[in-house]
């Protein structure tokens, strides 16, 4: 599969989960495991550009596909606009949920470029944060969207 633009080819057992493939085999530990039961979203990555929970995808299902992880968002030293917005809006405290939250948020803006606050809250329903109370996360996503918050 292609991970963050680089072709990666490793032999693994069919039962290897994508999240373990990324962390243990490809050495990309930015993607976290929270619940391991597809509830928390900490393990969210992009599969062909769409947010998925990598604890509930087999690595073989991503064979020949494009994966983007949190490590693949920034352009060198320049943060992705979503990362920059999280930074500026203080949208993280412990940071555990953050990689998954940012990947889900980027996927959301691909589908709904000018979301309302309600769109953001609903669009991030698959991601849990135990620290922030979500307020600043929602503000960060709205800032990154750069729209008028009017919807779509």
């Amino acid at each position: 599969m292609t991970i963050n633009g680089t072709l990666v080819s490793l032999d693994v057992e069919p039962r290897t989960l994508l999240v373990h493939y990324l962390r243990d085999h490809a050495g990309l530990t930015g993607t976290n495991v929270g619940c391991d039961t597809s509830s928390c979203g900490a393990c969210t990555v992009h599969l062909d550009g769409e947010a998925v929970k990598s604890c509930t995808v087999l690595a073989v299902q991503a064979d020949d596909r494009e994966i983007t992880t949190i490590e693949g968002l920034a352009d060198g030293d320049v943060l992705h606009p979503m990362q920059q917005a999280f930074h500026e809006c203080h949208a993280l405290q412990c940071g555990y949920c953050t990689p998954g939250m940012i990947m889900a948020a980027v996927s959301l803006l691909d589908e709904v470029p000018n979301p309302t606050e309600a769109d953001v809250r609903e669009g991030l329903e698959g991601n849990l944060c135990r620290c922030t109370g979500y307020h600043n996360i929602v503000q960060a996503v709205l800032q990154a969207a750069g729209g008028d918050g009017g919807g779509r």
């Binding site: 069919p14 373990h20 039961t37 769409e50 509930t56 073989v60 589908e111």
Partner: protein, 274 residues
């Protein structure tokens, strides 16, 4: 949690999937979106020896206008149904129910066929398809057969799909002018329904499918005949839980679920214009 070891094969077409099922028999399990099967395998509640991945059979991923009904490929993902204009205008109830499934990540992976084949009474999709009177197309060793949604669900996590069968298409009657409502009661946004009601009102008749109100997905037949007989929403909804045996769990006991079924059915009927 890691699934037990298995052999993996990828089916290139519907025909290839049927061949692989015939070859591996009851050792094999189909993998579509994997959002029911992979969690079961991680908990080791399922441990198939062979996993046949049908997730890339693009020929079974479509929404088509087929005259009086929509033809939806079994491998169509929830997300594609949720945003399909055809589904939205011709069977809005299905689009609404689908948009309530899990969260965006789940809807990017899960398929309509997987949700039906899994046969979970807690799933939102079967209730909508029961209300819409959909028909499932199943292919097996003896060819193709059509199964009405009423005959499709046979027990807890059981359907008429046999070990060598593949669900290929779902046929949903087009009802552009019908009123509808999908009522899902849960405590947190991404959760499964504690109880849900899918309501379709089409002229003087209606369809009501219930979520989590029995061991299998069911219709509230009493409500439907009451509406057909001229009852108003409140009177008709009073019989929503009659004859059903909902589960009791941490979220709700039997009586509370029966209460929810009546309230959600009434709200659904009212919203749908009964």
């Amino acid at each position: 949690m890691i699934p037990a070891a298995f052999d993996y094969v990828r089916a290139e077409s519907a025909g290839h999937a049927l061949e692989l099922l015939a070859e591996h028999g009851d050792e094999a399990k189909l993998l579509a979106g994997g959002h029911s099967l992979i969690p079961l395998m991680k908990f080791r509640l399922a441990a198939p020896a062979v996993v046949v991945d049908i997730g890339r059979i693009t020929e079974l991923s479509y929404v088509r206008d087929a005259g009086d009904h929509l033809a939806i490929g079994a491998l169509t993902r929830h997300r594609d149904i949720e945003i399909s204009e055809l589904v939205g205008t011709q069977a809005g109830l299905l689009a609404a129910a689908t948009s309530k499934v899990g969260d965006p990540q789940v809807r990017h992976r899960g398929t309509i066929g997987g949700a039906l084949a899994h046969g979970d009474p807690a799933s939102d999709i079967p209730a909508a398809l029961l209300a819409l009177r959909a028909t499932m197309v199943v292919e097996g060793p003896d060819g193709q057969r059509e199964v009405s949604s009423d005959d499709f669900f046979t027990g807890f996590l059981e359907t008429t799909i046999g070990e060598q069968d593949l669900l290929t298409e779902i046929r949903v009657p087009k009802v552009p002018d019908a009123g509808w409502s999908f009522q899902k009661f849960n405590r947190r946004a991404q959760d499964w329904a504690i109880v849900g009601a899918a309501v379709l009102v089409n002229g003087g008749s209606c369809g009501v499918g219930l979520v989590n109100m029995d061991s299998r997905p069911v219709r509230a037949a009493g409500v439907e005949s009451a509406i057909a007989g001229g009852a108003d929403a409140a009177d008709a909804a009073a019989s929503a839980a009659d004859g059903l045996e909902p589960p009791a769990d941490l979220n709700a006991g039997v009586e509370y679920r029966q209460h929810l079924a009546r309230v959600l059915t009434r709200r659904g009927l009212e919203e749908a214009g009964a």
